[in-house]
């Protein structure tokens, strides 16, 4: 098999896409946002519960999409739970560099290793947007904006 395909659809990715972590609705989120990729119609809805200390106490997502977008969303929720908002944003910055084949910057070794499973996307420029959808939606949720193009602003607080 093509090595780049093997890397893109490695076991961890397929496992996340088939058994997404933190999948489902949250009843009373402090932050939420919709993400939409108009190129393919994929949708993701993200719920966050940020506590008084600015920590992501709980995180959930719903949506439909390809293996890459689902796995990326699942991996993201797993990595963000328990982090502060500032840490989440730093992680996202690193991730966005990584999937474009750039240096992910100053990330901890453990984070770098876990994010690295998504690095194969960089060999598939047409699929980078699939990988980044959930992360952009997370940013929108934290900023109180919707990533849904033309959509209503998401509620924050």
């Amino acid at each position: 098999m093509d090595d780049s395909l093997r890397e893109l659809y490695q076991e961890v990715i397929l496992d996340h896409s088939k058994h997404p972590r933190h999948f489902g609705k949250m009843e009373h989120p402090t932050h939420e946002a919709d993400g939409y990729n108009p190129l393919c119609g994929d949708k993701v809805k993200l719920y966050l519960n940020v506590d008084m200390d600015g920590r992501i106490a709980d995180i959930k997502f719903e949506g439909r999409g390809c293996a890459i977008s689902q796995a990326s969303a699942s991996l993201m929720t797993e990595m963000l739970e328990g982090r502060t908002v500032a840490e989440a944003e730093k992680l996202m910055g690193g991730f966005l560099h990584l999937v474009k084949g750039e240096d992910a910057g100053d990330l901890g070794e453990d984070d770098r290793e876990r994010l690295d499973v998504m690095a194969g996307v960089s060999a598939f420029p047409m699929r980078v947007k699939c990988a980044t959808l959930a992360w952009h939606t997370m940013k929108s949720a934290l900023d109180g904006k919707s990533a849904l193009e033309g959509g209503a602003p998401a509620k924050s607080e």
Binding site: D2, L5, Y9, C40, D42, R64, C66, A67, I68
Partner: protein
């Protein structure tokens, strides 16, 4: 049976050699190009015609008195005549060149329909329209209070003329319907639809972007009011398309873009407009592209088009039979008499993942909503994969496609 007859009457392998790109590998694998419904590849004859024209006869059209301008004008008008003949319009003035199918429909929406729409007036369209035959009508809904009356399709993707008829009422100002669906392959009963609409005094537009490629179009026999087509799906270049309109309609239409070429006389406080088709062709038109489109039409019409259609249908049947054997594939669109487009959903595998894996096998298919989100909603899918067949495809293409699909299944499950 069908396969043998098609091969006897039409030499696909010879035609294949006209398309240089098909001999160029992707990722080191032979190219299997099954995305012609999005855009077809161009034969050498089209590329040569454009190059030769630009290298020896090119200048701007209609304005100059010099030799090259006269030559270029002649070639441009020959192209109009070629399109006229291709759709059997009564006269060349009924062919308006546009930059594509989308612009043809937008031209009609703006220059014909918009001035005729009062709030509450209706536009009848099917749920399987391409966005280019939806969004211009949404504009009229948003801006002028038009009402869109949607006609559903059957579960097999067929369009029932009775359902169209039932949607046409006293307030209907236009029926806008695809001649052939870009997702389902459904061929609509256009002649009957026109007859029903005309019985109620309503004009009909056909989106012929797919239909013109695979079907014989005779606008006089159809008695259709407007027919939109695009060059790049017809083995011609991008940047050119055409709107056919009955002369009486075009005569009564206001201009579209304003600029050179489309005027009668311009003073500081008064303006008159040129007659159709010049009225709708402001600015320097796509001249080289018109010559390319003309060459594409010559290329197609030099073939036995029925034999080409039989060849494409044989490939469609071969692919359809292969997919029907896979219990993890659901074909979407099985209307009787459908054209050579095969859309399908794969259980547990998203269309984009499938298309990515097929791509690395050299197989180019389309994945997504195909600019037909209303139809995706109708069939309750987010996206589908689509293989579309053209005159240059062959049985090896179908085999490569099915083989790659099995590989995708292996990787993703």
């Amino acid at each position: 049976m069908t396969v043998h007859r098609a091969i006897a009457a039409f030499d696909a392998e010879a035609a294949r050699r006209d398309f240089e790109i098909l001999a160029k590998p992707v990722y080191g694998k032979p190219l299997t190009y099954l995305d012609s419904a999005a855009s077809a590849q161009k034969p050498r004859q089209v590329l040569d015609a454009m190059r030769d024209f630009a290298a020896s006869e090119y200048a701007n059209v209609h304005r100059g008195v010099h030799y090259l301008s006269a030559k270029a004008t002649e070639r441009y008008e020959e192209a109009r005549e070629a399109v006229r003949g291709f759709v059997n319009a009564a006269r060349p003035e009924e062919i308006v060149f546009t930059k594509g199918g989308t612009e043809a429909i937008n031209l009609l929406a703006y220059a014909y329909l918009a001035p005729r729409i009062q709030p509450g007036d209706e536009i009848v369209l099917s749920v399987m329209e391409h966005h280019s035959n939806i969004v211009p009508w949404h504009f009229l809904r948003e801006r002028q209070g038009a009402v869109l009356r949607w006609v559903d399709v059957g579960d097999d993707g067929s369009l029932d003329v009775e359902a169209v008829d039932a949607a046409i009422g006293e307030k209907t100002k236009l029926v806008a319907i695809s001649h052939m669906s870009n997702v389902l392959g459904t061929v609509t009963p256009l002649k009957e639809i026109v007859a029903r609409a005309h019985a109620k005094g309503v004009p009909v537009l056909a989106d012929g972007c797919q239909g013109a490629v695979h079907l014989n179009v005779d606008v006089q026999d159809l008695d259709i009011d407007f027919y939109a087509l695009t060059g790049h799906k017809l083995y011609g270049p991008t940047g050119i398309g055409a709107l056919y309109g009955k002369h009486a309609h075009l005569k009564a239409m206001r201009p579209f873009n304003g600029g050179g070429e489309m005027i009668g006389e311009v003073t500081k406080d008064r303006i008159t407009y040129a007659d159709p088709p010049a009225r709708f062709e402001a600015g320097t038109p796509p001249i080289i592209e018109a010559v390319g489109l003309s060459a594409a039409i010559s290329y197609m019409t030099a073939m036995d088009r029925e034999a080409v259609a039989a060849h494409e249908h044989a490939l469609l049947s071969q692919a359809t039979d292969a997919l029907r054997e896979l219990n993890w594939v659901r074909i979407i669109g099985e209307a009787p008499g459908k054209g050579a487009i095969l859309s399908f959903e794969t259980e547990g595998m998203h269309a984009h993942d499938v298309a990515t894996i097929l791509d690395r096998e050299g197989v180019a298919v389309r994945a997504g909503h195909h600019c037909a989100q209303v139809l995706m909603e109708r069939f309750n899918v987010a996206s589908t994969s689509r293989a579309s067949f053209a005159l240059y495809n062959n049985t090896a293409d179908v085999e490569a496609f099915v083989g790659a699909l099995h590989k995708a299944r292996k990787i993703l499950s």
